[in-house]
């Protein structure tokens, strides 16, 4: 199966690989997937408390090229958004941007789940209610 140029680019030059300090109250961490399924994504956001904008986003992913690209793209999109704007990121946006074939759609679903899980973690840490639909997939 051939990968799209965008997937190859994210795979070869992944954006925002790394780790944020998960003990900080303004950092939200989402860990989704499972090793036995061949995909694990960890996505983190850091929220600037004054502006309410996501000031930094980092990821680490165990998975195929499409999973790595999906999470790399997600971190790019997250930066500069408000948490509410970030919640609106849909997996199909990722599919479209990366030209993912049908068999790789689950990679985009995982990235969306990771975003929601990170936001949830941030919300819970800051005394907000947990989002209901995060585990819907």
């Amino acid at each position: 199966m051939a990968y799209s140029d965008k997937v190859i680019d994210h795979y070869s030059n992944p954006k925002n690989v790394g780790t944020l300090d998960k003990s900080k109250s303004n950092v939200g961490t989402g860990l989704v997937g499972a090793p036995e399924c061949g995909d694990v994504m960890r996505l983190q956001i850091e929220v600037d408390e004054e502006s309410g904008l996501i000031s930094d986003a980092k990821f680490k992913t165990f998975g195929c090229g499409s999973a790595i690209a999906s999470s790399s793209l997600a971190t790019e999109w997250l930066k500069g958004k408000t948490v509410d704007q970030a919640l609106a990121i849909d997996n199909m946006d990722i599919v479209e941007e990366l030209n993912l074939p049908p068999v790789k759609i689950h990679c985009s679903v995982l990235a969306e789940d990771a975003i929601k899980a990170a936001i949830n973690d941030y919300r819970v840490k800051n005394g907000l209610t947990e989002l209901a639909e995060v585990t819907a997939h």
Partner: protein, 406 residues
Amino acid sequence: MELNLPIYLDNNATTPMDPRVLEAMLPYFVEKFGNAASRNHSFGWVAEEAVDYAREQVAKLINADAKEVIFTSGATEANNLAIKGVFEMYASKGNHIITATTEHKAVLDACKHVEKMGGQVTYLEVQPDGLIDLQQLESAITDKTILIAIMYGNNEIGVIQPVKEISAIARKHGVLFFTDATQAVGKVPVDVLADGIDLMSFSGHKMYGPKGVGVLYVRRKNPRVKVTAQMDGGGHERGMRSGTLNVTGIVGLGKACELCMNEMADEAERLSAMRDKLEKALLQIEEAYVNGNTDHRLPHTANISFKYVEGEGLMMGFNKNIALSSGSACTSASLEPSYVLKALGLGDDLAHSSLRFGLGRFTTEDQIDFTIDAITTTVLKLREMSPLWEMYKEGVDIDAIEWAHH
């Protein structure tokens, strides 16, 4: 010498054809096009003569009699013919077949078919090193057992089963022994007499011959073995496989066998030295493991797991330059890792992290050096990106985490 890219290290999937094989085949496409079954004119005689010669070349490689060689379209057909053909032919004797969970799909699915036709099949588990347990095999035999179907060398991990011991057990209980030797013939010495084999399948395109041609060896003496034809028609191949003979393919397979006969010993030595070099270098990487028994193994095969990186993602790092195969088939939503690796007891995580290396006649030392560098670099790069590697390094017990399953 200049390095030739891309590098082909997937010789267990298929081998390139040796140019000498092509040369032998060429006259039989246009000039000598006859039907080997045409008995009344020279076109037919020429074709028949070529087939007879090829049959001798094939028989010689496996120490069989030429009459025991049944040409088929490949190993898949030969596997089907052996299993279904024995099941039908020996129905009055019994209906039980013993095989193993690490067999090729063509064997497993033919066995599934037999079950649907009312047969009974025992699928032996293998030991963690991929070898079957001979005691388990023997105790699985019942008075209904007609066939033991155990492969010679495994396509994914290269493990060579104790064929002589298996055939001795089969003989002792009056059960036929069939072996899928697709990966072994032409790579290691296979001798149907010394090994006690009653039926054996193999294929042209795994031994530098053409695709679309294979063999079922069917023993003619002590015991005389018969299989019920699975293809009705003109009664070719002693009635066991109808269909006009693939003369060009058969000529190519014959030539391929002759080349293997002459070159196998040197080739095995050269390939195992390169394979060992590759394996030793890659095992320098932390948390890298060889899958399968390394003492009883095909000389050109290695299967290595790199923990905490995923196989398909790993291959993407070098598949522009290196062609090989992963134990992880991450092409469906189900993300099924290799059933062979799982049969060894590997966790899904390790099975997803494996690469299969299949060296071949045209593999060179500098290609191996390039591969060592490329894979080492990619593994290290992907580990920097792997949350599991980070957890492992921090001492987190990954198995203790409750992962959400999709």
